[in-house]
Every structure is written in structure tokens, then in C-alpha cells.
């Protein structure tokens, strides 16, 4: 058992055939994390005792003759903005450094019911705000492919954990690209499901109208299995969608891309895209064409305005969502204060990081009276336009393709002094959240320097099936070797 290369499917088969025990799998991952994570920083906390107890329970059941489900006994990493009952959930913020939720997020509960083994809580940009995972209040996440580079963000921890072989899959959240972007940087498959496909209950809110929980995995099949494990209507989330027939991705993804129509939006390959990224993605698109897909260039002029609209909407919602961190009931409270107002001001000033403060101020500003129409309302109108343009595109195409990120994984510290340059990394991912559509990112190949390049497919609402089909066909055709070499850091 080479733990670093294991997939959900391989672990499941092994458990089914009793080749190994769930506890052995869990212990192997924990040992690998201990050996290598110091250099990477993928985890903020581990739940060794819980993970071992859970896997032992699973082993007893398997021993007793129970057939394990696809996720039973399979370990995973969970982004630290998903509430885990009894386990610290910090959002990588000083504000929630000691917050222990008394409940599980719905997705976490669903996985526990299926016998999933939670290894620990994964690092992230504070409150999921960032594109490099350098905004964690505790430590940044390094890219397992090149430790001088960033993992991408905001779900850098879950991405790095899977890439480094600390877990076969992980859960992240995606508000403007926070799953797809680190998936691209770390050479993984990452899925941002349709808004409303996966429950947000227990996901600590950033931009409520944009946030979705989704999986990271090493293979398209694993990503499909993981999504099937967490999706579906939740009565606790009024924005989750009822009555959709879901799942079945692993079966339907096998049907190939013959006759599938793929749109290539000109604007997503224009200036500003790293030539190596562009070349690698277009080469993958050519492969799809060779496999029988119909590929056509078209115009989708939404990238730049989309980025502005995204930062206004997400920051507006964040400024409201983060109001509850006032030091009254939970989270950080300043030591010395005189009165309520000073307590709130000092607590927030001391416990929020720079980027969080920047977004709260931006969001407060765009919602304030006199500016609402010029900013928030305008952004909401643009949002309608993005939805309309995507609808029109999906009347013609089954999927729209683009690079996931315009640039290659950059160096730690390279963009931290220039927030605007950092925001540009989200150029191709944010519109998916604005429109509420699903998208998948998977490896398209490597740069000359050996850095992973991700390709993104976007589909119409609840058309994940088509995305898995395309992604699976491409993955099988490319046959990339996706395991980085890690050096032990003591």
C-alpha cells in the first residue's frame, strides 16, 4: 500500500477485499502527515484519536460482515471553515482560534454517517478570503510541487493535503474559485457544484450567495464519488435545491465526448494569460477535439466586470456575515475595554487580519447609503447579465472551457503587497459563482518548469454530469502522473 498514491476507489476496494484495515489506512496517513506536513502546513489541527476510533469502528463492522460503502473507512481532510462537532473550527483566524462548534456542518454529518474518517482540519486563507493561502492567521500553505510557491487559495490546505498524499480527498469551499484555483495550482481535480446542490449549513459564511462546498481529489472518479457523498437537499439550508435527481456521475462519465459541444470564450484566452498556461490548456482542448468533441470559439465578455462585481457582492455579504464576530458570545474578546462599542472595535481590530479588514471595509462601503446604487446595485445588475450570457452560451454549448487560473503557481510573498494583482488570479473563476453554475478544474499538463496547469470546464445549472464526462475523457487521454516528490522536513 503506497499511501501517497491511494485513491478513494483503491482504498474502498482494499477494504472490501480485506486487503488492509481501515485503521491501517488512517494510521498510514497520520504518519505521513507527521513526517511531511511541517514543511507544507496543510493542516491546522488533527483529530488522531477521533480518526483512529472511527476507523476501528468501521473495521469491526466490516469484520462483522457489513459491506463498506464507497466512502466508508476512507479518510479525508476538511477545510477549517466547515463546522465539526467537538473539533476546533477556526477559519484560520485569531477570531475563532478557540471556537469549538456544538454541531456538524451538514456535509460533515453526511460523510460521518457514511463512515468517513476525518483526519483533521485543513488550513485556508482567513475566512476564505485570499487566492494564495498566505492570509492564514497561523501559517501559509506551501505547494507540494514546489515548496517555494503558494498552494493557491483559499482552500490551500485541503488541496495541499491531497496533493501531498495526506488524504485521498478533501472538502473545500468555493466562493470565487477557492476550490478550483488551488486544485489547479496543486495538480488536482476540484469541483465547484451548482449553487444549491450541496448544503451550506455549517459552512462558515463568507459570501452567502456565492459559497458552495465541493471536493478535491486526485482523480475525476474520486471527485464524483465524493460529490455524490455530500450533495442533495438539506432542510436546514433554504437555498439548497429540492427535487433534483442527482448522482450517478461515476456511471455516466464513461460515455465519452463524442458530439459534445465545447465553447472556447475568446476573452478567457486573451492578454494577461501566461503563454505556458494558454498553450497547455489549448493542447488539452485539441485532445478533446480529437476524441470527438465539437469545439468552437465564441465571445463571452464578462471577465473584467465580473471580477469587479464579484468583489463587491462577496465583500458586501462578508461585511454582514462577519458582523457577528463582535466579542459578545464567542470568539476573541479584547482584554481591556470601556463599554460595548470599544469592546467590539478593539476585538475586531485585534483579531481580524489585513485582508479580512479590507473586504469588510469594501463591503461596508458599497452597501452604505448613497453608494448602494452605484456599486452594490450595479454589481447585482451585472450579475443578471452574467447569468443571461451563460444561459445563452449553454443553449449552444454543453460546456465552456478556460484556463482555471491565468498564471502559474507564484512564489510565496510575490503578490502579498499588491492586492489587485492577487485578485486577478480569480479572473476566470469568479463568474461561475456569480452565475451559480457548476465548474470542474482538472490538470491539463505541466509547465516547462514542472508546475501543474489546470483546465476549467463550466456547465449549465445542475449539469455536473456533462462536466464529469468531459473531465473523465480528458483525464484518461492525458494520463498524467500526479504525485509530487516530497522532502521530509524535521
Amino acid at each position: 500500500m503506497d499511501i501517497a498514491k491511494m485513491t478513494i476507489k483503491a482504498i474502498h476496494t482494499g477494504l472490501e477485499n480485506k486487503d488492509f484495515k481501515a485503521e491501517e489506512v488512517t494510521r498510514a496517513y497520520l504518519a505521513r502527515i507527521k513526517a511531511f506536513d511541517q514543511g507544507i502546513g496543510a493542516f491546522l489541527s488533527l483529530d488522531e484519536a477521533g480518526a483512529i476510533a472511527m476507523s476501528r469502528g468501521i473495521d469491526e463492522k466490516i469484520q462483522g460482515g457489513e459491506a463498506p460503502g464507497l466512502l466508508t473507512g476512507v479518510p479525508l481532510a476538511v477545510k477549517d471553515n466547515l463546522c465539526t462537532r467537538g473539533l476546533k473550527t477556526t477559519c484560520a483566524s485569531r477570531m475563532l482560534e478557540d471556537f469549538v462548534p456544538p454541531y456538524d456542518a451538514t456535509v460533515v454529518g453526511r460523510l460521518r454517517e457514511r463512515g468517513a474518517v476525518i483526519l483533521g482540519k485543513a488550513n485556508m486563507d482567513e475566512f476564505a478570503m485570499g487566492s494564495s493561502n498566505e492570509n492564514s492567521a497561523f501559517y501559509p500553505v506551501k505547494n507540494p510541487w514546489d515548496m517555494t510557491r503558494v498552494s493557491g487559495g483559499s482552500s490551500g490546505g485541503p488541496a495541499a493535503a491531497v496533493a501531498a498524499g495526506f488524504a485521498p480527498y478533501a472538502l473545500g469551499s468555493d466562493t470565487g474559485g477557492s476550490i478550483r484555483m488551488p486544485a489547479s495550482f496543486c495538480g488536482l481535480v476540484g469541483v465547484k457544484p451548482t449553487y444549491g446542490a450541496v448544503s451550506r449549513y455549517g459552512l462558515i459564511a463568507f459570501g452567502s450567495s456565492l459559497d458552495q462546498v465541493g471536493p478535491f481529489a486526485r482523480t475525476v472518479e474520486d471527485a464524483a464519488i465524493a460529490l455524490e457523498g455530500i450533495e442533495g437537499f438539506d432542510p436546514k439550508d433554504a437555498t439548497s435545491v429540492e427535487g433534483r435527481v442527482r448522482g450517478g456521475y461515476t456511471a455516466s462519465m464513461l460515455s465519452g465526448v463524442k458530439g459534445i459541444r465545447i465553447g472556447v470564450p475568446r476573452e478567457f484566452f486573451a492578454q494577461g494569460v501566461d503563454p505556458e498556461v494558454k498553450k497547455t490548456v489549448l493542447r488539452a482542448v485539441k485532445r478533446l477535439e480529437a476524441l470527438g468533441a465539437e469545439v468552437e470559439e465564441f465571445s463571452l465578455p464578462i471577465t473584467e466586470s465580473g471580477l469587479s462585481a464579484y468583489y463587491m457582492i462577496s465583500s458586501a455579504e462578508a461585511s454582514s456575515n462577519l458582523g457577528r464576530y463582535d466579542g459578545v458570545r464567542f470568539g476573541y474578546r479584547t482584554r481591556d475595554y470601556d463599554g460595548f462599542e470599544e469592546m467590539v472595535v478593539k476585538s475586531r481590530t485585534e483579531a481580524f487580519g489585513q485582508e479580512v479588514k479590507r473586504r469588510i471595509m469594501l463591503g461596508t462601503y458599497v452597501l452604505s447609503s448613497g453608494y448602494y446604487d452605484a456599486y452594490y446595485k450595479k454589481a447585482m445588475l451585472f450579475r443578471q447579465k452574467v447569468r443571461r450570457l451563460f444561459k445563452e452560451a449553454f443553449e449552444v454549448y454543453d460546456a465552456v472551457v478556460s484556463p482555471t487560473v491565468p498564471v502559474l503557481p507564484f512564489k510565496l510573498g510575490e503578490k502579498t503587497q499588491d492586492p489587485l494583482a492577487m485578485y486577478l488570479a480569480d479572473l476566470f473563476t469568479v463568474n461561475v459563482n456569480i452565475a451559480g453554475i457548476p465548474a470542474i478544474s482538472l490538470p491539463a499538463g505541466f509547465s516547462e518548469g514542472g508546475l501543474p496547469v489546470g483546465i476549467q470546464f463550466m456547465g449549465d445549472h445542475f449539469e455536473e454530469t456533462k462536466l464529469f464526462r468531459i473531465a473523465y475523457a480528458l483525464e484518461q487521454d492525458l494520463g498524467l502522473n500526479l504525485v509530487p516528490e516530497l522532502k521530509e522536513v524535521k
Binding site: P235, A238, G323, D326, V328
Partner: protein
């Protein structure tokens, strides 16, 4: 010549809805529990939780809209109102901003003999906040979140009210309508109905609106009346002395103990609530047919009841107004009439006696059966009116049948002429002078003899019969 001024009042009334559970979670709404018992992660606003709208809240809001003649907005939405306050766990209140559940509507009121239609601007749904408990001599404040997330409707009126009396009449009528419809219990003393009063003055004839002052969180009709009177005179004084500019837009607090309003915050300190659509809740979509089905569940409302009671029972408008102000009193009255068949007498007893007792008691202190029997016994002449009042006092404390109590108290009247004959004969024999006076034409001695007879019967003689027998005897 000095200008004359009129008062312009608009009200905002918060009413807690009669639901078992809170607006966005399944916690109970019960009043009077130990602090923070009725709370959960959702109403405490813990990280990651999400609201789910309680459908019953929409039902009751639509019902209120139906009862108040509003237009129901078949698509309406929830918004966030953002501000920091320790009683507001999420730092935003989920409310409705530009698309409320109801618009328009009206309440017709009668005050100081004048009928007025008070138009409504809107009704919207929102959640209540928690309650701060300030401890004396302590540097800290405690928060009780039991009330946080209790469903409210806010009813906003147009500036159609012209006096303190009209404001109170409006509140009483509104309260009656909401209680009758089962929308709220509207207990002002428990805070389940609270009023904010917006008040300004203007020269009679001027159609515009002058700067208004808002008096927040009034929790009794009496105090609303006093506060309006006080604020009216404060503003009138300023206008009269040419200092109208000193009426500034501000929020004032009513100091009940001192009987005056005090400035809380001016317009400059007003919050910018940064309203925006609540992303956690989809728009509220209401089916038109369903609105009609809710309308069909409305009970008889105060105005209809009033008309019917005036016609059916032949009572005066003023009497009916008193009887219908509280739903339970109206029901008690009608139950008593069913038992007794006596509308007029039942109404008199309730207006003078039952309501007198209820000034100090929350519950109706006797059963319709008990009161009906009392009315009937008086009519039959079994007991006198004076004796009946004594019986009434006893009925307040006991559940026994009226007849049994009359028996026990020995208050039965003697209505038989034969039985009274001897007593009256005795009185005449003992008072020959008075008899002689009467027969000599000095008829005022009749009253004296009547009194003697009643006394001799120990008050039990039926006065009508006594009078008749006495007249017969004196005439013979």
C-alpha cells in the same frame, strides 16, 4: 393673528406573532422562561448556521393583511438590516425592506365622537432581538436571547392620526383585530405589542409634513396617551414662540417616571443600516388562491361583530364598543345571553360589575352560567337587586351554582302576598299614626311604612309585592 396647529401622528407597531416556534429555528417562543433556555445555534447566530423561514409566520402575516384590508404582495423578500448591538447576535436583523409582505390597508377608528380612517403604509415580517438586563452596581450587562428570533410583524401607518385619543383608539382597535384573528396576543405589558410614535405639528391648512420626532418602544396605551400629550405641548410651545426650528429630527425616549420625553439620538447619529437582500433565504412566494383560503379562516372581526351585536341585542354603540374591546369579554357576553336570554341585563352586569372587577384581575372571574342565573333570579324576583350584588361578590370566589349560593346566603325574596300579609299587618298595627297620616292625605308617610315593612321582612320582601299589599291594606 396666532396660527393654530394640528398634531400629525404616524405609528409603527411591532407585534409578536402567535407561533409555537421562532421565525428561523424550532426554538419555543414561550414567554417567561429562565434566561437563554429557548435558544439554539441558529437563534444565537453561531458561525455557519442558516435561517429557515417558519411558514406559519407567513400565514399569520397574510392573515393580518387580510384582516386589515391590505394588498398581499405575492412575491416579497427578506433583507438584512445591519447594526451592532449585544442583543442582536448576528449583528443584523432579518427584516423586509423594499418588498414587504403587505402594502396598504386601513383601520377605521372612533375617538372623541369623530370617525377617522387611518391608512396603513405596509406590514412587514421581521425577527425580534434579545433582551438586555442591566444590573445595578455591576459593570456588566446580561443578555437573554429567549426573545431573539421571535417572529414579529411591523405595522406602519400613514401620518393620519391627529390626537393622543385617536392614537389610543387606533391601537385599541388594531389590538382587537389582531387578537380576534388569533394573530397575536398583543400583551403590551409583556412586550408582545410595542409602539413607536412619530409626531410632528403643523399649521392647520398646511398640507406638508414638518420635522418629526420619534418616541420609541411605548408599552402601554396609557403611556402612549401621556407621551403624545407631552410631546405635543413641547413642540407647540416651540412653534408658538417662533422656535419651530428647534424641533429637530430625533429619537426620544419616554421617561415614564418623570412623565417627559428625553432625546436619545439625533438624525446625525442615526444608523446606516446597509440593507441588502438576505442571501440565505429565497424570495417568499405566495399563491393567490392560498391567500383566499387564509382569508376564509378569518373569524368575525370587531366591526362586523359590533354591527351584529347592535342589531341582534338592541344595545347602544357605546355599550357594544365596551363589550367588544376584548374578545373574551364579547364571547363571555354572548355566552351569558345564550344562557339567560337577557341581553340588556347581561350587558349591564358585565359593563358595570364584571369589568370593574377585571381592572384588577386578568381572568373573567365567573362563568356565563353563573351570571346568567343571577340575571334570571333577579328577573324572577327570587332576589332583590341589592341582594344580587352580594351574591355576585360571592360568585367571584366560588364555582357553585348561583341558586345554591342564594339559598345558602338566605337571600331569597318573599314574593308571596300571603306570606307578607302578616308582616305588613303587624307594621300597620305598630304605626297607627303613620297610617292615619296617610289616610288623611299625607301620602309621604307611605315611604316610611314601606321602609318599616322591608325592615320587618329582614330585607327579603319583594319590594313590588310589599308595595302592592301595603297599598291594598291602606286603601281598605
Amino acid at each position: 393673528m396666532m396660527a393654530t396647529y394640528e398634531t400629525v401622528i404616524g405609528l409603527e407597531i411591532h407585534v409578536e406573532l402567535n407561533t409555537r416556534s421562532k421565525i428561523f429555528c424550532s426554538c419555543a417562543t414561550a414567554f417567561g422562561e429562565a434566561p437563554n433556555v429557548n435558544t439554539c445555534p441558529v437563534c444565537l447566530g453561531l458561525p455557519g448556521v442558516m435561517p429557515v423561514l417558519n411558514q406559519e409566520v407567513v400565514n399569520l402575516a397574510v392573515k393580518a393583511g387580510n384582516a386589515l384590508g391590505c394588498e398581499i404582495n405575492l412575491i416579497n423578500k427578506m433583507d438584512r438590516k445591519n447594526y451592532f448591538y449585544p442583543d442582536l447576535p448576528k449583528a443584523y436583523q432579518i427584516s423586509q425592506f423594499d418588498l414587504p409582505v403587505c402594502t396598504g390597508g386601513f383601520v377605521d377608528v372612533l375617538a372623541e365622537g369623530k370617525k377617522t380612517r387611518v391608512n396603513l403604509t405596509r406590514i412587514h415580517i421581521e425577527e425580534d432581538a434579545g433582551k438586555l438586563i442591566h444590573l445595578e452596581d455591576e459593570a456588566y450587562t446580561l443578555v437573554d436571547y429567549n426573545r431573539g428570533g421571535v417572529p414579529l410583524i411591523e405595522i406602519v401607518t400613514e401620518p393620519d392620526i391627529r390626537s393622543a385619543a385617536e392614537a389610543v383608539a387606533f391601537l385599541k382597535k388594531l389590538r382587537a383585530i389582531l387578537v380576534y384573528s388569533g394573530i397575536s396576543d398583543c400583551r403590551m405589558e409583556q412586550g408582545s405589542m410595542r409602539a413607536d410614535v412619530n409626531i410632528s405639528l403643523r399649521e392647520v391648512g398646511f398640507q406638508g409634513l414638518n420635522t418629526k420626532v420619534e418616541i420609541k418602544n411605548m408599552n402601554s396605551m396609557k403611556e402612549v396617551f401621556k407621551a403624545v400629550k407631552k410631546e405635543e405641548s413641547r413642540q407647540l410651545q416651540l412653534y408658538t414662540y417662533g422656535e419651530g426650528h428647534k424641533v429637530v429630527q430625533e429619537t426620544r425616549r419616554w421617561d415614564q417616571a418623570k412623565g417627559r420625553t428625553l432625546s436619545m439620538r439625533s438624525k446625525e447619529d442615526a444608523h446606516d443600516y446597509r440593507y441588502f437582500p438576505e442571501p440565505d433565504l429565497p424570495p417568499v412566494k405566495i399563491d393567490g388562491e392560498w391567500v383566499e383560503s387564509i382569508r376564509a379562516t378569518l373569524p368575525e372581526l370587531p366591526d362586523e361583530k359590533k354591527q351584529r351585536m347592535m342589531t341582534t341585542y338592541g344595545l347602544k354603540e357605546a355599550e357594544v364598543d365596551i363589550l367588544i374591546e376584548e374578545k373574551e369579554i364579547a364571547e363571555f357576553f354572548e355566552a351569558t345571553v345564550v344562557e339567560s336570554g337577557e341581553a340588556r341585563e347581561s350587558a349591564n352586569w358585565i359593563i358595570t360589575e364584571v369589568l370593574r372587577v377585571m381592572k384588577h384581575e386578568a381572568r373573567i372571574p365567573l362563568s356565563p352560567r353563573q351570571l346568567a342565573d343571577l340575571v334570571l333570579e333577579v328577573r324572577k324576583g327570587t332576589i332583590s337587586r341589592t341582594a344580587a350584588k352580594e351574591v355576585f361578590e360571592v360568585l367571584l370566589t366560588r364555582e357553585d351554582e348561583t341558586a345554591a349560593i342564594i339559598e345558602e346566603m338566605g337571600l331569597k325574596q318573599i314574593s308571596s302576598a300571603d306570606a307578607l300579609e302578616g308582616i305588613i299587618q303587624g307594621v300597620l298595627e305598630e304605626n297607627p299614626q303613620a297610617v292615619a297620616d296617610y289616610r288623611a292625605g299625607r301620602t309621604q308617610s307611605f315611604g316610611f311604612l314601606m321602609g318599616r315593612c322591608m325592615k320587618a321582612s329582614k330585607g327579603k320582601g319583594n319590594p313590588g309585592i310589599v308595595k302592592q299589599v301595603l297599598e291594598d291594606k291602606l286603601g281598605s
